[in-house]
Amino acid sequence: MTAEPTEPWSVLDPTGTLRVDDRVPAGADALDLWAAYRDMVLSRRVDTEAIALQRQGELGLWPSMLGQEGAQVGAGSALRPRDVVFPTYREHAVAWCAGVDPVQLLGLFRGTTLGGWDPRDRNFHLYTLVIGAQTLHAVGYAMGVVRDGDVGTGDPDRDRAVLAFLGDGALSEGETNEAFAWAAVQNLPVVFFCQNNQWAISAPFSVQSRVPAATRASGFGFPGVRVDGNDVIACHAVAREALERARSGGGPTLVEAVTYRRNPHTTSDDDLRYRTGAVNDDWAARDPVDRLRALLTGGAGPPGVNDFLADLGREEEELAERLRAGCRALPVPHPGDPFLHTLERMPRDLERQRDEHLAFVAGGQGDRS
């Protein structure tokens, strides 16, 4: 899997046919396909609901991950509790796998917070909007993991890896490349997971690179792997191997999950200005969720599949309801909060500004204007 990247590696094809491949972990290490399917469906529902909430004016913006659930659940399901994730702003399904309450994902987009959850609770860091910036944080965290001695001990409860997400566009930022350089020379326990969803807003991948994203790693001297990002089984296998290599002291990997952003960049974007509906439809036919459902329900379908799907349908509805209610109940910050959280102790000049501001807010504006 670490040879020169060419065609994305795949085992589950769009018709739901699974090819046998010994790189797919089996036995206790195997991906639980039912769980993976459930994760994809439920996280997709988070995405769908969030779009609806945006339409209703409850969110300012939402970056949809529709179509990328295979890559994200593949990676997310390969995480162990002590692994640490540095996401971009689109890893809703990874957040789901890590156990972050999806309601907490909404605050940033509702404008009630710039964060939303405690990164330490689930080792899932805050969303980062500045393209590429989080890759260096992942590198630094991995330096900490090395210094803590939590690499290569062979103790599965001790060894840790850092999983940094990035988009195809992020490959062009200088900082991302610095992260690659640092990770390589220090042989850090970090996996760079690039979802090449073909687009950086309106820029097709060809604007960023003329070779596959995974190839970038070779220039820095570490393995790059190209995988079908819409094949959750392959993604899990690749992420699992890369994370395991990282944990055991084998150094960094760049994974390129070849996928597609089926929706516009965000709810504010108009993707038909730069791509055609026909291409969108092509990719819809390769959808990762449909693909796994086809496998699970293929032939006569395994026993219990109908019950499973019915239960999942109910779970979805409950989740959707919880999201809608949770979104509306998200606490609006207090006008004094930014002052409180700028520095550890509020300096006197900032206290003066806060007092003025709070008096102004309390005073009821709009007297004369």
Binding site: G60, L61, G107, L108, F109, R110, G111, T112, T113, L114, L129, V130, I131, G169, A170, L171, S172, E173, G174, E175, A200, I201, S202, A203, V207, Q208, S268, D270, R273, Y274, V332, P333, P335, D337, P338, F339, H341, T342, D349, L350, Q353, R354, H357, F360, V361, Q365, G366, D367, R368, S369
Partner: protein, 319 residues
């Protein structure tokens, strides 16, 4: 104002074949604010370049293009994303004329949508003007009307100095006719947009209409406030402000950027130095606070608004 800027870019592209636009998503998409809408179609991919995702690359390659005789106009997608380009702007672009002892000009324009008030998420509501104003060798412009946007952009592109061109994004949707033939005010001059004698109220960009509203309220109360639109944040036309303060004796300065180290402090320092004996009250500032820009649910009260301006004017007038 977005339309005025589009027209301004179009006019420059037509006028000078050396004008080249570079930026993320400025081609087919026309930029996230559609300021470059239609330009790629009319002027080709070579002149309207959808760039890779790297701000250092945008500015650094613009510098090289300028060295090769072009007049690049960069677009940084949002205020908060200019920082990866700071090295190229500060250590390269701003210094090159000086390094080359005046031999080489780098006529690069960097357009940046700035400011808050549109309910955006983090990094999309920043006001980074002071970083640039503190960097010698750059011009920093910020229009407040469509006509000014058109005029200043043309002047910026034709000018041989590097120009940071700040576009108040709240004003993108403001209407306003543009007369391409209208005589333009010099690009480094402030402009008195409402005359008055009771107090001088100075601001720029999206706060100019807010200041005008405050002035209208005060006028109803019988106090004529002079409103000055700074337009150029570097160099700062303190002559115009000082002249006004000599008449009014009072000065209030407003901007969205954080207070400490902002343009307001600089202007206050200059005015108290040059018009010390004319000041009847301390120079007051109404600005963003010294905190990160908050989550958007707080921004309505957060941004300097008419009421905060009125409060400051009242305070000044009470002295």
């Amino acid at each position: 104002m977005a339309h005025a800027l589009n027209a301004g870019l179009r006019a420059c592209l037509e006028e000078d074949p050396k004008v080249v636009l570079i930026g993320e998503d400025i081609g087919r998409l026309g930029g996230v604010f559609r300021v470059t809408d239609g330009l790629r179609e009319d002027f080709s991919d070579e002149r309207v370049v959808t760039s890779p995702l790297g701000e250092a690359g945008i500015v650094g390659s613009a510098i090289g293009l300028a060295m090769a005789g072009y007049r690049p106009v960069c677009e940084i997608q949002f205020d908060g994303f200019v920082f990866p380009a700071m090295n190229q702007i500060t250590t390269q672009l701003a210094k090159y004329r000086h390094r080359s002892e005046g031999r080489i000009s780098l006529p690069v324009v960097i357009r940046i949508p700035v400011g808050g008030g549109i309910g955006a998420i983090e990094h999309h509501s920043e006001s980074p003007e002071a970083y640039f104003a503190h960097t010698p060798g750059l011009r920093v412009l910020c229009p407040s009307t469509s006509q000014d946007a058109y005029d200043l952009l043309g002047q910026a592109i034709r000018c041989d100095d590097p120009v940071i061109f700040l576009e108040p994004k709240r004003s993108y949707w403001s209407k306003g006719e543009v007369d391409p033939e209208a005589p333009a005010v010099g690009m480094d001059r402030a402009r008195v947009v409402r005359p008055g004698d009771a107090l001088t109220l100075v601001t720029y960009g999206a706060l100019v209409p807010v200041a005008l509203k405050a002035a209208a309220v005060l006028a109803e109360e019988g106090r004529q406030v002079e409103v000055v639109d700074l337009r150029s944040l570097s160099p700062i036309d303190d002559d115009t402000v000082v002249e006004s303060v000599r008449r009014t004796g009072r000065l209030v300065i407003a901007h969205e950027a954080s207070q400490t180290g902002g343009i307001g402090g600089e202007l206050a320092a200059r005015v108290q130095a040059r018009a010390f004996y004319d000041l009847e009250a301390p120079v007051l500032r109404v600005t963003g606070y010294d905190t990160p820009y908050p989550a958007s649910r707080l921004e309505e009260d957060w941004l300097p608004n008419v009421d905060r301006l009125l409060e400051a004017c009242d305070a000044s007038l009470k002295h």
